[in-house]
Subunit: 191 residues, 2 copies
Amino acid sequence: MPDSDPDPRALMVAGAADMIRRRGLSATSVRELAKHTGAPLGSTYHYFPGGKQQLAAEAVGFAGDAVTRQLRRRMAAGPVAGLHAFIAAWRETLLTTDFRVGCPVLAVAIEEPEEDSAALRAAAAAFSQWCELLATALCDDGAAPAEAGRLATLIVAAIEGAVVMCRAQRSVQPLDNVGPVLEALVADAIS
Amino acid sequence: MPDSDPDPRALMVAGAADMIRRRGLSATSVRELAKHTGAPLGSTYHYFPGGKQQLAAEAVGFAGDAVTRQLRRRMAAGPVAGLHAFIAAWRETLLTTDFRVGCPVLAVAIEEPEEDSAALRAAAAAFSQWCELLATALCDDGAAPAEAGRLATLIVAAIEGAVVMCRAQRSVQPLDNVGPVLEALVADAIS
């Protein structure tokens, strides 16, 4: 028996990120999260008094940070190898989940925000964080700063777009198409 | 007074495409469409007996065909100029709608399909149609077929991803970053 239970609040945030990356933001609610994670409804409202926006913003922040850590770890192998491994990981996720799972950060950004949206701000922050991390890795390996910035945005945009195309087409071909072009661009930029 | 009213069914399909590109698929329903377009609820069910899936599939097909026609028209000016104009049009759409409008084809592909989804099949068909059109335009201007295919996928994926990043960041910077890189790749491929 483990000497400490997992933090129930952290489990709910992770559960919300999982729901959003599968179903999108509209279909995600505090009530649905309680069902999805098996938590009592009262406890979800206790932990997230700000309701769905708070939950979604924390879920997006959680997912964004997880990708940032993954990118940082992979970039340590060098930008070309790191990018290749990152795309291979997405490929594996799509195949093992029967194309049911996408990116929760993208998912919250395709719905018209009702007003000031904490979830949308969290998505913007995650995209910026990834782009900055990639641009820094490219610069560290010798790319020119302006080119590194443009290329970092292209990498994030193209992988996000390709993952959605893969889900629609139920095939990893879109990722297999964009991967080699992105890797060649990175190799050129740092050579 | 015009001698013929616009086709009410076609107006509903266009209205559904507009709802989906603003709000996503989950928030779109036959009932909401009736509200959005001011049509009587009964008439929407009359025109779309298959309900939301039929409506969404037709809306995605309608939007996909509109983009195909636009891409074909723009590519007639040559792939580099055509791509530049296509991206400029997206830039304008984002700015004039206060970043509230995205791509309905992408929007339907980020939600776990409940079963066999006609809307998802329509999205897959639209992505394929755009990629084939772009690959053909690149080949017609001298690109090697394999390179043209990969580059066409990258163009579609990167623009789709960049539009979502623009909506999150409420800025056209992501499109402004990816545009020049894509245009340079196209210029290289056809030179």
